[in-house]
C-alpha cells in the first residue's frame, strides 16, 4: 500500500452537496491496466498537490465506446455513450479531464450530438493550465538536461491538433526536448489505435510499434515521453523488443512531472 491519495467520487460529492470543479475521467486502461494505473496515480497526486477540487465516477464510469466505434460497432458505441451521458448529465458535469486521448476525443467530439456537452481537456492541457495559473510549479532538477522525445498520440495530435501542451510541460522540466523524424501532424502511430490494441496485426513485415520505437531510438533519448496509456504500452513493448529497457524509460508526461516533484 502506497502513501494515501485522495480520490473522491461523484457520489460522495453529491451526498455532501458539493459540485467539484472538474471530473477526472479515468478510462478503462487507467482503471485496470497495471502500467496505466501508475499514470492515473501520478496525475491524482498532482491534482492533490495543486488542491484541485476534482472527483471520479468510480464504479459508475464505463467505457466511452471508443474501441467499439473504431471497430465499426456503432450500436455498442452509442449504447455506451447514451448510458454515460445519462450519468454525466445526472451529476451536471461541466468539465472533464482525462489521461487518455481516446476518451478525450470521444467525449469531446462524439458525445455532443448525442446530448453530452462538456468542456473536455487532456491532462497535459490541464496541467499546463495549472502551471500557467500558478497552482502548480515544477522543479526541473531531476530531469535537467535529459534527452526526452515526445511521441504524439494520434487522437491528441492529428485528431485534435493538440501538439504544444505536452511539449510545454517537458520544456518546463529543463529537459532537452528532441523531436523524432515524424512528429506532430506527421507523427507515426504507435499501432494501437482503431481497436488494433485488442487484436493481432494483419500479416506484414514488421509491427508498427517497432517501426515507431526505432524512430524514437534514432533520437538517442533517455526517456520516451507519451501522453496515452495505449501508446505507452506499445512503446514500452518496442523498447523491450530492442532490449533497451535498462537504458530508456517510457513515461507519461504526468509521471515526469510527478517524479520531478518527488511525489
Amino acid at each position: 500500500m502506497s502513501e494515501q491519495i485522495k480520490v473522491p467520487t461523484m457520489a460522495e460529492c453529491m451526498a455532501e452537496g458539493k459540485q467539484p470543479e472538474v471530473l477526472f475521467w479515468v478510462g478503462c486502461a487507467g482503471s485496470f491496466d497495471d502500467r496505466a494505473k501508475k499514470i492515473t496515480k501520478a496525475f491524482v497526486k498532482l491534482l492533490n498537490k495543486s488542491n484541485v477540487d476534482f472527483a471520479v465516477l468510480g464504479a459508475e464510469e464505463s467505457c466511452t465506446g471508443d474501441p467499439a466505434k473504431r471497430a465499426g460497432n456503432e450500436f455498442l458505441f452509442q449504447m455506451q455513450a447514451v448510458t454515460n451521458i445519462e450519468v454525466l448529465n445526472g451529476y451536471e458535469i461541466k468539465k472533464i479531464v482525462t489521461t487518455c486521448p481516446h476518451c478525450f476525443n470521444t467525449l469531446k467530439n462524439e458525445y455532443p450530438s448525442l446530448g453530452g456537452n462538456y468542456k473536455v481537456v487532456h491532462h497535459t492541457q490541464f496541467l499546463r493550465d495549472l502551471l500557467n495559473e500558478g497552482r502548480l510549479s515544477i522543479e526541473g532538477g531531476q530531469f535537467k538536461g535529459k534527452r526526452i522525445t515526445f511521441h504524439d498520440p494520434c487522437y491528441l495530435g492529428r485528431a485534435n491538433n493538440v501538439y504544444e501542451a505536452p511539449r510545454d510541460l517537458i520544456r518546463k522540466l529543463d529537459a532537452e526536448l528532441v523531436e523524432m523524424k515524424s512528429c506532430k501532424s506527421r507523427g507515426l502511430c504507435c499501432g494501437a489505435g482503431g481497436a488494433q490494441m485488442f487484436k493481432d496485426a494483419e500479416p506484414g513485415n514488421k509491427e508498427v510499434n517497432i517501426e515507431r520505437t526505432e524512430q524514437a531510438l534514432d533520437t538517442k533519448p533517455e526517456i520516451i515521453a507519451a501522453g496515452c496509456p495505449f501508446c505507452n504500452t506499445m512503446m514500452t513493448d518496442g523498447v523491450k523488443n530492442k532490449e533497451k529497457e535498462g537504458e530508456i524509460a517510457v513515461m507519461d508526461v504526468a509521471e515526469l512531472i510527478a517524479n520531478a516533484e518527488d511525489l
Binding site: 473504431r70 465499426g72 476525443n105 450530438s113 487522437y155 482503431g194
Partner: protein, 437 residues
C-alpha cells in the same frame, strides 16, 4: 471555301467541348448515386479552404521538392490557358493574334514572353517528374496498385504536356510576323534559327500545323481527363470546398443507429408497435457500406478527385510495415467500382442491374480494412482533402453491424464492453480499486 478553316475549327471545338460535357454529366450522375450529405454549413470557411488548399497549394508544399515542381506546372497550366482564349477566338473568327491589336505590342509581348518562359519551366519540371517515376523510381509510384493503367496514365499526362509545350513554342518560332515584331519571343527567338533557310510558305505551313495540333491537343487532353487520374485539376476545387471541417478524430454518429438506441433506452417504447403511418414501406437503413451506393456523395467525389500521388499510402503506418492496406488503393478501388456501376447503368437504359459484385471483397478486402489504425495520417497527408479513413470506417461498420464479421479478438473486446463496461474482462465494480492499491 474561304470560311472552311473557321467551320472546321468550330466543329472541332463543339465536338471537343460537347463530348467532355457529356462525360461531366455522367460524372455528376455517378456521384449522385451516393447518399445525400449536408455540407451547406460554414460557407465562408469552405471557400477559404478552397482558396488556401486548392488555389494556394498550401498542402502540396509540405513536401518541398514535389510541391515546388508541382506549383510550376500548376501556375504554367493556369496562366498559359489565357493564351488558349486567344487561340479559340482566332480560330472562330479567322483572325491572327487578335489580342495584339487590342492590348498593344508592349503588353502583348509581356504576356506571350511570360507564357514562353513558363512553357520552358513546365518542360523542365515535367522531365523531373518523369525521372521521379521512371528513373529514380520513388517507392510510392511503384506500389502494387500502380501497375498497368495507373502507371501508364501518369506517364501519358507528362508526354501530353511535353508535346503541348513544344507545339506552343514551335508555333511562335515559325510565326514570321511575330518574330519580326520582336516582342515577347524571349524563348522562341532562339528556336527560330532552327528553321532558317526554309521558304516562307513552308514555314507558314509549319506554323499553321503547330497551331492546329496545339489546340486539337488541348481538346483531346480535356477529354482525356475523365478517363484519367488527372481529373484533379478540376475536382480539387469542389473537393477542398466539401472537405471535412470537424476535428479529424470526430467520426460521424450514425443517425439510424441513434434512432434505434433511443428506442431501446426508452422505457415507454412499445416493442411490438406497428410502424408509424407512411413508414411501413420504408426499407430499414443499411448500416455501413458494402458498395459505392452506400457511400456518401463527398466520398465519391473524393474518389474522382484522387490523383494517385500516394502521399497517403507513404504515411500509412500499416502500409509502411508491409500490410496490404493502402489508402490510395481504397480511393482507386472506389472510383473503379463507381465507373463499373456507371457503365452498368448506361448499358441497361438507366437502371442498375445487379452484377453480383460489390466494393467489398470484389475490390477491397476485409484484411485491408482491419489493418487500419484510424490514425488519420492519410487524411493529413492528402493535398486535396480526401478522406480515405471515412470509407474504411463505413466498410468496417458494414462488416460488424450487417455481417457480424469482426475478427474474433475484436468480438471478445466488444463482448467485454457490453458485459462489464471495459474492453477487458474486469468487473465494473472494481474500477476504483487502483486508488487503494
Amino acid at each position: 471555301m474561304e470560311y472552311l478553316p473557321n467551320i472546321l475549327f468550330a466543329i472541332a471545338l463543339i465536338a471537343g467541348i460537347g463530348y467532355f460535357a457529356r462525360n461531366v454529366k455522367k460524372l455528376i450522375r455517378n456521384i449522385k448515386l451516393g447518399r445525400d450529405v449536408d455540407a451547406s454549413d460554414n460557407k465562408a470557411q469552405r471557400w477559404r479552404n478552397m482558396a488556401r488548399i486548392a488555389l494556394g497549394q498550401s498542402k502540396m508544399v509540405r513536401r518541398p521538392i514535389a510541391g515546388l515542381l508541382h506549383v510550376v506546372v500548376y501556375v504554367g497550366f493556369v496562366i498559359i490557358n489565357i493564351e488558349v482564349l486567344e487561340i479559340i477566338l482566332d480560330g472562330l473568327f479567322g483572325t491572327h493574334r487578335l489580342f495584339l491589336d487590342i492590348i498593344g505590342k508592349q503588353v502583348y509581348g509581356f504576356l506571350i514572353g511570360t507564357f514562353e518562359i513558363l512553357a520552358v519551366l513546365v518542360l523542365i519540371t515535367v522531365v523531373a517528374f518523369w525521372m521521379r517515376r521512371n528513373v529514380i523510381k520513388l517507392k510510392r509510384f511503384l506500389s502494387a496498385e500502380m501497375k498497368g493503367w495507373p502507371k501508364n496514365d501518369g506517364n501519358i499526362i507528362l508526354y501530353f504536356e511535353v508535346v503541348l509545350m513544344c507545339l506552343f513554342l514551335t508555333m511562335n518560332a515559325t510565326d514570321v510576323p511575330f518574330q519580326e515584331l520582336n516582342s515577347g519571343n524571349v524563348i522562341s527567338q532562339f528556336i527560330a534559327p532552327w528553321f532558317e533557310g526554309i521558304n516562307e510558305n513552308t514555314l507558314h505551313i509549319i506554323e499553321r500545323t503547330a497551331w492546329w495540333l496545339h489546340i486539337l491537343g488541348i481538346l483531346v487532353f480535356l477529354n482525356y481527363l475523365y478517363f484519367s487520374k488527372h481529373l484533379h485539376i478540376l475536382l480539387a476545387f469542389p473537393n477542398t470546398y466539401f472537405g471535412n471541417l470537424n476535428p479529424k478524430g470526430q467520426f460521424n454518429n450514425l443517425e439510424a443507429v441513434t434512432k434505434e438506441v433511443k428506442l431501446m433506452m426508452d422505457p415507454n417504447a412499445d416493442p411490438f408497435a406497428a410502424p408509424a403511418e407512411g413508414e411501413e414501406d420504408e426499407e430499414p437503413a443499411k448500416f455501413g457500406a458494402s458498395d459505392v451506393m452506400d457511400l456518401n456523395r463527398i466520398q465519391l467525389l473524393n474518389a474522382y478527385t484522387c490523383t494517385e500521388c500516394g502521399r497517403c499510402t507513404s504515411e500509412c503506418p500499416a502500409n509502411q510495415t508491409g500490410k496490404k492496406l493502402s489508402p490510395r488503393k481504397i480511393m482507386m478501388d472506389t472510383r473503379d467500382r463507381l465507373e463499373e456501376v456507371g457503365k452498368n447503368i448506361d448499358a441497361n437504359n438507366g437502371e442498375f442491374k445487379d452484377d453480383g459484385k460489390q466494393l467489398l471483397n470484389d475490390y477491397i478486402t476485409a484484411e485491408e480494412l482491419w489493418a487500419c489504425t484510424s490514425c488519420n495520417a492519410c487524411v493529413e497527408a492528402c493535398p486535396v482533402s480526401i478522406d480515405p479513413l471515412s470509407i474504411i470506417m463505413d466498410m468496417r461498420r458494414y462488416l460488424v453491424m450487417e455481417q457480424s464479421a469482426a475478427p474474433m479478438e475484436l468480438n471478445n473486446m466488444m463482448t467485454n464492453i457490453e458485459n462489464n463496461g471495459a474492453p477487458w474482462p474486469y468487473n465494473q465494480m472494481d474500477r476504483l480499486n487502483w486508488a487503494n492499491e
